[in-house]
């Protein structure tokens, strides 16, 4: 590869997948083993299906002849929509808030205590309030999920923007850079690694937030389906929901890891060739 050749996006994404495999290959193997042992234990000890369903039953509830009655796709769609919606909201509002907080001393002193105070409430406890305010539905759950998840992103992004080396700021300041330029050209890009580590924490919180919202009140979503199944002691469906949530969470996390590689190519450029 020549010195100047730019790596096409496809190649970069492939690298991302390879990294994903290297990182999570063993994990996947462990899960497969766990499922096998689970099946053997349930069969061997004749455990009742309303105590612990076997993986086979869970599989059947997802893909068997009876699967259609659960309307899986509808529920999956709702939950995924909520997870991604809240994630997008966290990203946009979280980074904007971080910019505000690090804009100047006064805004920092004004906003930081409010934020810290707010963070000390268990945010899941806000869910019933949101239901009263916004009614139930996807939008409400997105907001609940947003509040559950946004704190680490704001804190990390703020830390990133405030810890930029003074010398780097001088580099643009001597050219009389406007403050917005300082943020656009230096502070925000410099905080990308911080933002991504915040986002990784928030990825799981987004799923938690969405499910809590669906538990409280909803017309669809995997959380809703779980509660519904609970009423009928339909253990296989409940476990299937759990499984799907795990899959959603993991693919979400994987997407973020790939996004990280794509957004910060300089982080891996040394290893590339």
């Amino acid at each position: 590869m020549s010195l100047t050749a730019k790596k096409p996006l496809g190649v970069r994404i492939l690298y991302g997948f390879w990294d994903f495999l290297k990182k999570y290959g063993l994990t996947i193997l462990a899960i497969v083993l766990l499922v096998l042992i689970w099946q053997i234990v349930v069969d061997g000890f004749h455990i009742k299906k309303y105590v612990l369903p076997s993986p086979k039953l869970v599989f059947n509830s997802l893909f068997g002849p009876q699967a259609a009655k659960n309307h899986w796709w509808k529920h999956i769609r709702t939950t995924v929509l909520e997870v991604f919606g809240s994630f997008a909201l966290v990203l946009v509002l979280g980074v904007s808030l971080a910019v505000l907080i690090s804009w100047n001393r006064w805004l920092n002193r004004l906003l930081m205590p409010v934020l810290v105070l707010f963070n000390s409430i268990p945010k899941i406890a806000l869910a019933p309030l949101f239901l009263l305010w916004l009614g139930y539905g996807v939008k409400t759950n997105i907001w609940i999920s947003f509040f559950v998840a946004f704190f680490p992103v704001v804190i990390n992004a703020t830390t990133g923007m405030m810890s930029v080396d003074d010398d780097l700021l001088d580099l643009v300041k001597y050219l009389d850079a406007k403050k917005y330029q300082v943020f656009l050209k230096v502070r925000i890009p410099a905080s990308l690694p911080y933002i991504f580590s915040g986002i990784k924490i928030c990825a799981t919180s987004c799923v938690v937030g969405s499910i809590v919202g669906e538990f409280c009140a909803a017309k669809s979503g995997l959380g809703y389906l779980m509660r519904d199944a609970q009423a009928f002691i339909d253990m296989p469906t409940m476990f299937a929901c759990l499984f799907l949530l795990a899959v959603i969470g993991m693919s979400f996390f994987g997407t973020i890891s790939i996004l990280e590689k794509v957004c910060m190519p300089w982080k891996r450029s040394r290893r590339e060739d």
Binding site: L3, D167, D170, L171, D176, K185, W266, S269
Partner: protein, 254 residues
């Protein structure tokens, strides 16, 4: 040269840093003029406030006392200054070419018009073919050369250089000296140059200013009356070496 030609005038400049353990007087009292199209070097012991002086001139630091007068009819001190910092200070997330073009973006000039110039500057500093690399793929000396290209991209009138060649090997340094002299003489720029190398200062400059240890005062100012254009051969002449020894002795007395 007459008063009219003065581009930058530093009068009784004093700088006191306020630190946790009290005050630290970095610059005692420094006074000198830099004329239009002049090449002025500043030499002085480490820690005497050379970087501080340059940062004050660039408007990055408040002075404690004294005056800095800039002839605004000759250039715009906000936009027509180029600064090569002592550290390379490249932005990790930008490719080499985009690092070079940073001043163009900050000054909101049309970037497309400067791409060719950026490539030429990179070639001049010996980094042709590295334009799409990221800074962490370059050596320290290469990074410093990128920062030199960056300081020149917007064609500044006044160039401030803080030990720009400190990280380079002797041969590259020699080459960069010649290139700098070529740029300076071709494009009628004014240079304020900081270095530890006395021979480098004499070789490049019209005038060498010698500062004492902290708190720094001006202890000498040498007009270098050597013919231009100057080549490497000059360094073997007795006139050249006389200047070097004079500057050296002034420094050593401190």
């Amino acid at each position: 040269m007459s008063e009219k030609d003065v581009l930058l005038s530093i009068k009784d400049l004093r700088k006191v840093y306020k630190t946790r353990d009290g005050e630290l007087e970095a610059i005692g009292k420094v006074t000198f003029d830099v004329k239009d199209q002049e090449f002025v070097s500043i030499v002085g012991p480490s820690g005497c406030g050379k970087s501080t002086l340059l940062r004050i001139v660039a408007g990055l630091l408040e002075k404690t006392e004294g005056e800095i007068i800039v002839d605004k009819t000759k250039f715009n001190p906000d936009k027509e200054v180029g600064f090569v910092f002592q550290k390379a200070l490249l932005l990790d997330w930008r490719k080499v070419i985009d690092n070079v073009l940073l001043p163009i973006e900050i000054l909101k000039l049309d970037k497309r018009k400067y791409v060719d110039r950026a490539m030429e500057l990179l070639e001049m500093v010996g980094l042709k073919g590295f334009e799409n690399r990221y800074p962490n793929e370059l050596s320290g000396g290469m990074q410093q050369r990128v920062s030199i290209a960056r300081a020149l991209i917007h064609d500044p009138k006044l160039i401030l250089m803080d030990e720009p060649f400190g990280a380079l090997d002797a041969i590259t340094r020699e080459k960069m000296n010649l290139e700098l002299m070529r740029i300076w003489s071709e494009s009628k720029k004014t240079v304020l140059f900081i270095t530890h190398e006395i021979a480098e200062a004499v070789f490049l400059s019209d005038r060498v200013i010698v500062l004492s240890a902290r708190p720094s005062r001006q202890v000498g100012s040498f007009d270098i009356d050597l013919p231009r254009p100057r080549g490497i051969d000059l360094k073997t002449t007795p006139e050249f070496n006389k200047y070097v020894i004079d500057v050296y002795k002034t420094l050593e007395v401190q």
